[in-house]
Every structure is written in structure tokens, then in C-alpha cells.
Symmetry: C2
Subunit: 301 residues, 2 copies
């Protein structure tokens, strides 16, 4: 896996064939598990809550959550439909923390009117329960929450005593930047996690979705040299050419993505295989998994 | 913290001064805790186990572990002193996984003799105990290990039943690439974690150290377009101009770094403050911390 991959693969194949000879079928690989998944285990990613953010380096595709951040999603729809983000830029890239974009810092020339969007919204940090959400718990320990799992396809946590449920900060999680007050965010600045999960932000920020495609583009941006990774020098910011909902584009121009549902055997098999890898490379199975290391597969595009 | 930082800071200062007026001293900030740390809470980073890897984008500084990977460290010393890495390159950048460098893939023209270094070493995945190591446990739950903490300044885990102790894969962790067999690594290829901690690699790889400075350089490298993020196209690889131990350079050219020791109150206060942030931005304290989110401060340079 790490060195001389071709050798590793052929040895694994050899071991697999030995296993067959001993009448122990080899454990299926993640690719085989996914290939065998029935159609019903996948869901189409809804174009009405899929954002395309176009940069000169490529397109970033974000799935948004209507169940956890309905008001922020509505406001974001207004902002996008009134072309608020077009011509703005990535304003921050802090190593092992977040990449942030949208509203320029106060007093800057690029500042734009937010049009008919709301300038601030009540926080949507958590949801009272997982009712109405596809909630799939995993049994593994977590450093931050009593229970973790996946909610509507997003990494999430839940308090089993109260039922309170929230989306968590993992690599690729997208959330709403805000000021000191909980109710000061609007969606004019968003951020995506570009490093190890900053889980202390959970229940303190309105998480609105996750990056499905193009996180490599955001994560490889040069880090900003200002405080907290803000770009402080002329020409460092990456311009955003346009942000659109997929549903705004003609159907032929949309990227038809499907996401694996989590309420089925395909997902539980994949997760178990990730918890305890079976290929010859691994000497010691992990025996557990961090919610931010779950495999949440996407296909198409 | 996230938006209009200046405002956030001034509000925090206002709240702090209110607290003073009410005769409740404000909680010290991490910077204040560090500034108050006595000299004995810091240790000089040993130049004999500090690597400088020079790229055109800048210098990456890595601290190596003599306690967990003594044989790999010896072999790496031979490789570095015989200039094995000079002129080789970064060969892999896989998003949210690892950046890897050194030995080109088999059959490539850049391949170099390993000189008097050993071509393969017995695995150093774990250590029988934490004896002889500065081991600082934290009480927090972990998805992968029964106990986690810091060993000699590196994020680590321990099995309290057997005493077995190992360094863990966090953002910036440096380890030895290998083939399928456990005993096939030598140090000719090393990797650093560039995303969310791939903790399933713990106890399966020889972890040799961590990046103290310059992880931003490695993490912002463009991702490789080949399988597993290997660079498959001409000109994509970043050349390594030279790799040296700090102790090989004249003293005036060394970067004198100090690392906070973890067996003291400064570290425990810092960790507690990270577990439960006190500034006005946070509505809900996390109440716990992931071993890969610990603050392991470095100063100097």
C-alpha cells in the first residue's frame, strides 16, 4: 500500500488465491462491496441542495443539509440566486484548520450588498432530535460525543439522553462563519475544514454541508500569511468565478452524483471492513473507527 | 474567531474586564499560560534528531523519536549522512491521507544506491512499555486505543493492560513507508499525514517523528493524479534539494527550537483550556479532546 504498491497488490492476490484453495473465500474488498450494492442503497444527490463553486483551479461541489440548517440554506439560496458570491474570493486558508470564502473583511472594496438575504440568522447548531433524518449510529467511542454516526449522509453526533443531534466538523465539513454572538451568521462567509477535525467547533457553529468533490482543490491552496490564515497580501486570494445551485444549470450541464445511503448492509459492511482491514498489508486491525474516518462514498460525475 | 475577528477580540476583552470588575479574574489565555511557563517546562529540541528537509517552497523541520524507532533512526542517519535524499523528490500527495518522499518507484532513472544503509529493518511499530519515556496520559476517550496521551512529545497511545505504547498517526506525523511485509521498511521512503488522522495505520507502521515546522508546505502541495496520489506526470514532483540533521550544520545556521514538555502544569492547563474553551466565542464547551487535537507548542526559530 505504501511502497511498491504493485508488489503489495500481487502478494494480496496470491494470499487471496491461497485462501480460495483452502476453501476460505477471501473477504470482499470495499470496491467489491460497493459494486454489489443494489440500486436502492444509493440516493441521487438533490440538485436543489447541491452547490457548484467554480474556481480557476476547478469546481468544488458541496452537498447542503436541509434538515440541520434549513434557515441558513434558504438564505444561502437567496445569496446564490442573487449572485452574491460571483467575483468574491477565498479569503482564508489556515493550515490544519479551515479554508474560508465569501464576504471580504470589513471596509474592503470588494464588499457587496447582500440584496434580499438576511444579514443574520438564529443559530442552527443542533437539532432537537433525529426524527425525520436518516440516522445511522456507529458503536465506536468518540472523544467528543456520547454517540456518533451519520445523519442524512453527513458525519454527525447525538446525545442519546436528550436525542439532540448535530452535524460534526470533519475534513470537508462546510459551515457558516459568524461573529462572537451565536446568532450573527448569515452564510455570506462559509468555511470548509482542511485538516484534522476541529471537533471543539461542534454545537458552536451552524454546519451546513460537506464537500463531495474538490476538497483537494481547497486543501492545497497556499496558506494565508495573516493572523488565523487570512490572506494578507495582494494577489493571494483565489477568485470565485461563480457559485450556482446544480438545479440552476440546464440538466445536461449538471453532474449527476449519487451517494451511498447508510441505512443498509452495504454501508455496515464497508464500515466494518474499515474498522478491521482484511488485506495482507495490515498486521493489527484497528478495532474501531473515528466518525471522521467513515467512508461515505459518492459516485457519478 | 471566524468572522470579524477584531470585533470578537474586543468583545472578549470587554467581557474579561467585566469579570475583573466582579472580582472574578478572567481565565488566562493559552498565550498567557505559555508566557508564564518556567524555563524548566521547555526542552531544547535535540539537533541530533532534528531533520531539515529543504524544498524550493521552504524548509520542513522534523523531530525524530529515538525511543520508538531507534533502529530506523540509525538507518536514517546513515542515509542522510551519505546524502541519499539530496536530489530525490516528493513522489506522492494523496488528499486527506499522506505526502510521501524519497526512493523513486522501481525502475525509475532517479533511483540511487542506499550506500551503507540497511535495505530493510525489523518493524518498530510499538514499544513494550512506556519505561524510559516521558509519558503523559490524557483522560479522554479515543476511538482506537484504551489510553492516549503524549510520549516524549509525540501523540501516542498505550494499552494499560500490557503497557505496550506506540506513536499514533496525527496530522504531521512522520512514518516509514514499507511493502506488504512488516519488516520491509528502511527509511528510504517516508510519509507525513496531511489530513484527518488515519489512525488505522497505528501499530502497523513505524512512526518515526513529527513535523514541527513546515507542515503547511507539505500539505498544500498539489495532489498527485496517479493511483493513491502518486505523481504520475512529468514535472509534478517537488524536488528535495537537501536533507540534513540540524547537528550537521554549523551552530549559527541551526534553528534553535524548544518544545513544551508535557509532564507539568503548563501542559495540563493548556490541555484543559483546549478541552473547555473559555473565550466568549464558544457557547458549548467540547468537554473532551482528541489526542490529535492536543496543542504541543514549539517556540524559537
Amino acid at each position: 500500500m505504501f511502497k511498491r504498491a504493485a508488489f503489495a497488490v500481487s502478494l494480496a492476490a496470491l494470499l487471496a488465491s491461497t485462501a480460495v484453495a483452502q476453501q476460505q473465500p477471501p473477504a470482499p474488498s470495499p470496491a467489491q462491496i460497493l459494486a454489489a450494492a443494489p440500486k436502492a442503497h444509493w440516493r441521487a444527490v438533490d440538485p436543489d441542495r447541491t452547490l457548484y463553486m467554480d474556481l480557476d483551479r476547478g469546481r468544488v461541489i458541496i452537498e447542503l443539509s436541509p434538515a440541520f440548517a434549513p434557515n441558513h440554506l434558504e438564505n444561502l439560496k437567496t445569496l446564490v440566486k442573487e449572485r452574491y458570491f460571483d467575483g468574491l474570493s477565498i479569503i482564508r486558508s489556515q493550515d490544519n484548520y479551515v479554508v474560508q470564502w465569501g464576504d471580504p473583511e470589513e471596509g474592503e472594496a470588494e464588499a457587496k450588498s447582500i440584496g434580499s438575504a438576511k444579514p443574520a440568522l438564529p443559530a442552527e447548531f443542533t437539532r432537537k432530535s433525529a426524527d425525520g433524518v436518516v440516522w445511522t449510529a456507529i458503536p465506536d467511542r468518540d472523544s467528543y460525543a456520547e454517540q456518533v454516526g451519520v445523519a442524512d449522509g453527513f458525519p454527525a453526533a447525538r446525545d442519546p439522553k436528550t436525542g439532540e443531534t448535530w452535524l460534526v466538523h470533519c475534513y470537508g465539513t462546510v459551515a457558516v462563519a459568524r461573529g462572537t454572538g451565536a446568532d450573527t451568521g448569515s452564510g455570506v462567509q462559509l468555511y470548509a475544514v482542511n485538516g484534522h477535525a476541529p471537533r471543539h467547533l461542534d454545537r458552536n457553529m451552524t454546519v451546513i454541508g460537506r464537500v463531495l468533490v474538490g476538497m483537494d482543490i481547497l486543501a492545497s491552496l497556499p496558506r494565508g500569511s495573516g493572523a488565523m490564515g487570512f490572506y494578507s497580501m495582494e494577489g493571494q486570494r483565489t477568485p470565485i468565478s461563480r457559485v450556482r445551485f446544480a438545479s440552476e444549470l440546464p440538466e445536461a450541464q449538471r453532474i449527476p452524483l449519487e451517494a451511498l445511503r447508510t441505512d443498509n448492509e452495504t454501508f455496515s459492511k464497508l464500515t466494518e471492513l474499515r474498522r478491521n482491514r482484511k488485506d495482507a498489508f495490515f498486521q493489527v486491525p484497528a478495532g474501531g473507527i473515528d466518525v471522521c474516518n467513515l467512508n461515505l462514498p459518492i459516485k457519478g460525475g
